[in-house]
Symmetry: C2
Subunit: 489 residues, 2 copies
C-alpha cells in the first residue's frame, strides 16, 4: 500500500463503520481527504462488543477487485476459504458437486462478516486522516445546514460537514432523514421468509463437511446453506417462511423438522434445539430508493451500499455490490477532480441501474437455490452451459460467472445473457436444420446405393434459379458479414 | 344526532386531528369509547393558527355517506357548493360544460379543507368522551408497551394506550414508527409534478366564473383547476412539472407563462406574480404500505386515511376515501363486538384492495384531466357513455359516476367497469352484424324487386346442415341462458 498523502480538504463524514463504510473511508483517505466515520455500535474489536449479525459472506471478483484497489485483497483472502462450487445435499443424503465455473477452478470465498469488518477497521486505522467515532447514533441530519446530531453514551454530540455519506446499512438512519423530503421515492419490501443461523462444529478437529464448497440443502419450501469457517466449523443459514420458523417453538418440533428435511445436517449439530431457541430470526428486505444524492444548501448527502440498495443475500452479492459502489465513487471523484457533488451524482447515475438489476437477480436466485438446483433439468442446463463455455471460451459465459467472476456491470451482464440466449437459440435451430438435412442426404445416398437415383434427390434447375438467386452468394456474404458481431460478447 | 352514551372502555388514541382523525373520533365516541386525539399543530379554530395546506376538496357520495352516519352531512353540505360538471377552458377562451352524471343533476361539492376541518372539530367537541390535545407532536411509539412520547410547547409528554390509530396524513409519524419493524412493506412515490395554489377573487361582489362547475384548463404538460368558495372567490391549483414551476422565478416569466397558457384566468388574478412568489410549491405523493395494523404485546397500532394510503388528488377521492375508511372501521367494530385488534385487521383486509385501486385510478385520472378532457374522442366517449346510462338506467353506469356518486367499493367498481366494457363491445359487434345483415337483406330485396331472385340469396341446405347442426337451437339456448347474468350489473 502506498503511503497516504498529507491530509487536506475536503472534509467527508461517513455514517456507518460496517464493511462499506470502512472500505469507502480507505478509498477517500487514499485520495488525501479528511474522513470522520461515525458508528452507532461499539468497536467490534473491543472485548464484549456483542455479536454482530452474520450470514457468512461470499466475497467474489467484484469485492476482491475493490479491495485490490486499496491493497487489501491479499489480507482479506488470507482469512477466507475458497468455494469453487455448490455441494447439493439430497433428502436421502446423496451429495452432488456443481462447479461454479466451466474450468472448475474459479471460487467464491467464504469469510465471516465480523472478521472482514475487523480487518477493514484495522486498515482504516492505518490512515492518519481518518477518525473513527464509535457509539455515535445519528438522530438528526439537515442537508441545508450540514448539521448532524448523534446520541452518545456521554450525551448528544453535534457535528457539521459539507459531505455526508450514509453507509449505514439496510435500516439506514441517513436514508430515514432523507425520506421525508419531497421527491424522495422509497420502496421497501420484505420477503416473507426469515432466516435462522446455526453452527456445525468441527468434528474430531476437522471439518464435518467438505470445506471446498458452499453446501446447499434445497427443499422447495425451505432451504439451508452452510459456509466453512477457518476454525473448521460451518455457519448454516436456514431459510423458511417466517410463520413456519416461529411454529418450531419446542425442541421436539425442531427435531422433527430437521429429521424430516435435513437428516444429514441434523446429525452434525449436537445442540440443535438449544441453538434454535437462542438465535434470533433474521429478516430479508429489498430497498430501492431515489435519489441517493441530495444537494442541500450547505451539504451534499448521499447513500452507498445497503443504505442505497439493500438486497437479499441469495446471489452472494450484497457486500460485493457495496464494495463495487466504493470503487465506482472513487473513479467518479477522479473524473470530477474531487468535486463531491458532481462525483456523487455521477456515481448514482452509473450505479442505480446496476443495483436495481442485482436486486432482481438476487430475488430470482432464491427460487433457483431453494428449488431448481435439485432438478435434473437445471443440472442438465448447467452442464450444457459449462460445455458451451469450454467450447467458446470468453464468448459464452454463464450469468453466474459474469456476476461472480467478472466486474462487467450487472445491467450489462443481463444484456449479454439475453444476447447469448438469442444466439444459442439460433444456433440450436441451425444445428437442428443441418442435422435434418444431413439425415435426408444420408437416407437418399443409402437408398441410391441400394436402388439407384430417385427423381428430386438433388435440387433441380428451377429450385436453383429461384432460391439461389434470392439467397445466393451475394446475400451469403451479407450473412457471413455479421459474424464478427458475435465477437462482441 | 343521538345523545352519546356514557363514556366507557375501551380507550383509544388517535394521532392526528385532521379530517379523518376528527371523523373517526366522532364514530368511536358514538360507540361510547373514550378517545384522545393528539394533533401536532395548534387548534385551527384559534386566531393566528397559521394557514393550513389546501387543494380545495370535492366531497362526493362516499364522504357524504360517512358524514351522514354521524349526522354531519347537512352541516357540512351547507358550507359546500355543488359542482354538477366540469367547465373546460380551451386556450382560445372557449368554454364547454361536461356534466358529471347522465342526468346532469348529480354533483360533487366544493368545500375548503380548513372549513371542513373546523366543522369536524366542533362536532368532536360535542362528545364529552373525546379529549383533544393540540401542539402534541408524536416522537416515539412502541406497540409492545403502548407507550407514546410527544413534543409539546411545555416539554415532552408521555401517554400509554392499548389502541393507537394513526390518522396523521401522508407524512404520518405513526407510520414512520412502524416502518422500521421487520416485515413492514412501504412504497412511497412522488409525481414529478408539483402544484401551486392561486386565488381568483370575487369580481364586483360576484363569482368571476360560473360557480356551478369545477373549472379545468387542460394543457397537456400543465393543468389548472379552480373550485368555487362560498365567499365568491375561486381557489385555483396549478399543476406543472416541478422543475418548470421553479423556473418561473421572475414576475415576467410568470406573466408570460400565464398569458400563453391561461390567458382567461390571467385576466382574473390581478396580483398573479405576487401570489405566485408567495405561495409554496406543494408535492404529490402516493403511499402504499402493508400491514396497516400491527399487534404489539401491549397495544394494537393501525393506520387510517392518508397515513395508510396517500393518493394524488386527481379523482377528488382523498378525503372521501379516508371518510369511507372510518365508516368501514365502524362496521368492523360492530361486527366484532368492539374487539379493536380483530376489527382493525378486518378493516384492513376489506379496505386495502380498494385503496390500492383508487390510488391507481387517481394517477390515471391525472392524464385524463390534463390531456384527454380536451380531445374530441374523449368528449364523444363521454356523450356515448351518458347516452348508454340514460338508455340503461342503473345497468350501465360510468366509472366516474360509480366512483363519485356511489359507495360501491372501488375494486368492485373496476370489476363492474370491465364487465360493462366487455358487454358493450359484444353489443357493438352484434349491432354491426345485424346492421350488415339487414343491409344485405335490404339490398337483395331491392335487387329482387328489380331483377328477380338471385341464387344464394338465402342459406342453402348445405350451410344449414353444417352450421345449424353445430350452433343450432341447443347451443342457442345455452347462449340465451347466459342473459340473466347481465342483470347483475
Amino acid at each position: 500500500m502506498d503511503d497516504p498523502p498529507e491530509v487536506a480538504a475536503p472534509e467527508v463524514t461517513i455514517v456507518g463503520a460496517g464493511l462499506v463504510g470502512c472500505l469507502l473511508a480507505c478509498f477517500l483517505a487514499r485520495r488525501g481527504h479528511a474522513v470522520t466515520v461515525y458508528e452507532r455500535r461499539p468497536d467490534p474489536r473491543e472485548e464484549n462488543a456483542g455479536r454482530s449479525r452474520s450470514i457468512n459472506l461470499a466475497i467474489s471478483e467484484r469485492g476482491i477487485d475493490a479491495l485490490r484497489r486499496v491493497g487489501l485483497d491479499e489480507t482479506v483472502l488470507k482469512a477466507a476459504l475458497p468455494m469453487p462450487g455448490r455441494m447439493m445435499h439430497a433428502p436421502d443424503g446423496t451429495l452432488s458437486f456443481q462447479p461454479y465455473s466451466a474450468d472448475g477452478r474459479r471460487a467464491i470465498n467464504s469469510i465471516s462478516r465480523s472478521a472482514l469488518n475487523r480487518a477493514l477497521l484495522d486498515a482504516v486505522g492505518g490512515f492518519p486522516g481518518v477518525r473513527l467515532r464509535f457509539r455515535h447514533r445519528l438522530t438528526t441530519l439537515d442537508p441545508d445546514t450540514g448539521r448532524m446530531e448523534f446520541d452518545t453514551p456521554g450525551g448528544p454530540v453535534t457535528a457539521v460537514a459539507p459531505v455526508i455519506i450514509g453507509a449505514d446499512g439496510a435500516g439506514s438512519a441517513v436514508r430515514a432523514r432523507l425520506q421525508h423530503r419531497p421527491g424522495f421515492d422509497l420502496h421497501q419490501e420484505y420477503l416473507d421468509y426469515g432466516y435462522k443461523e446455526l453452527s456445525i462444529p468441527a468434528r474430531d478437529g476437522d471439518f464435518a463437511l467438505d470445506p471446498g464448497a458452499l453446501h446447499i440443502w434445497p427443499r422447495g419450501r425451505s432451504m439451508m446453506i452452510a459456509l466453512p469457517n477457518p476454525d473448521r466449523s460451518f455457519t448454516c443459514t436456514l431459510f423458511w417462511p417466517e410463520r413456519e420458523l416461529a411454529e418450531l417453538d419446542t425442541p421436539a418440533k425442531v427435531e422433527r423438522a430437521f429429521t424430516e428435511n435435513y437428516p444429514d445436517a441434523r446429525a452434525l449439530i449436537p445442540d440443535l434445539a438449544a441453538q434454535y431457541a437462542l438465535n434470533p430470526v433474521g429478516h430479508l428486505v429489498t430497498v430501492r430508493c431515489e435519489p441517493w444524492t441530495v444537494l442541500g444548501r450547505a451539504a451534499v448527502v448521499s447513500l452507498i451500499g445497503d443504505a442505497a440498495h439493500a438486497i437479499v443475500p441469495f446471489y452472494g452479492q450484497g457486500a460485493n455490490c457495496g464494495f463495487e459502489d466504493c470503487a465506482e465513487l472513487d473513479r467518479c471523484l477522479a473524473e470530477t477532480g474531487d468535486d463531491y457533488a458532481a462525483a456523487l451524482l455521477l456515481y448514482e447515475s452509473r450505479r442505480k441501474v446496476n443495483t436495481d438489476t442485482i436486486a432482481r437477480l438476487a430475488l430470482d436466485n432464491f427460487v433457483e437455490m431453494r428449488d431448481k438446483v435439485a432438478s435434473r433439468a437445471f443440472l442438465a442446463r448447467k452442464r450444457a452451459e459449462h460445455a458451451l463455455e469450454r467450447i467458446l471460451p470468453g464468448r459464452y459465459v454463464s450469468r453466474y460467472e459474469l456476476v461472480s467472476f467478472s466486474t462487467v456491470p450487472y445491467a450489462e451482464v443481463e444484456r449479454r445473457v439475453a444476447r447469448q440466449r438469442r444466439w444459442t437459440a439460433a444456433a440450436a435451430l441451425v444445428v437442428t436444420g443441418v442435422s435434418a438435412w444431413a439425415g435426408v442426404i444420408l437416407r437418399n445416398r443409402v437408398r441410391a446405393a441400394v436402388t439407384g437415383p430417385e427423381p428430386g434427390s438433388k435440387p433441380g434447375p428451377a429450385a436453383k434459379s429461384g432460391l439461389a438467386a434470392k439467397w445466393g452468394p451475394g446475400r451469403g456474404r451479407a450473412g457471413t458479414g455479421r459474424r464478427p458481431r458475435a465477437g462482441r460478447w
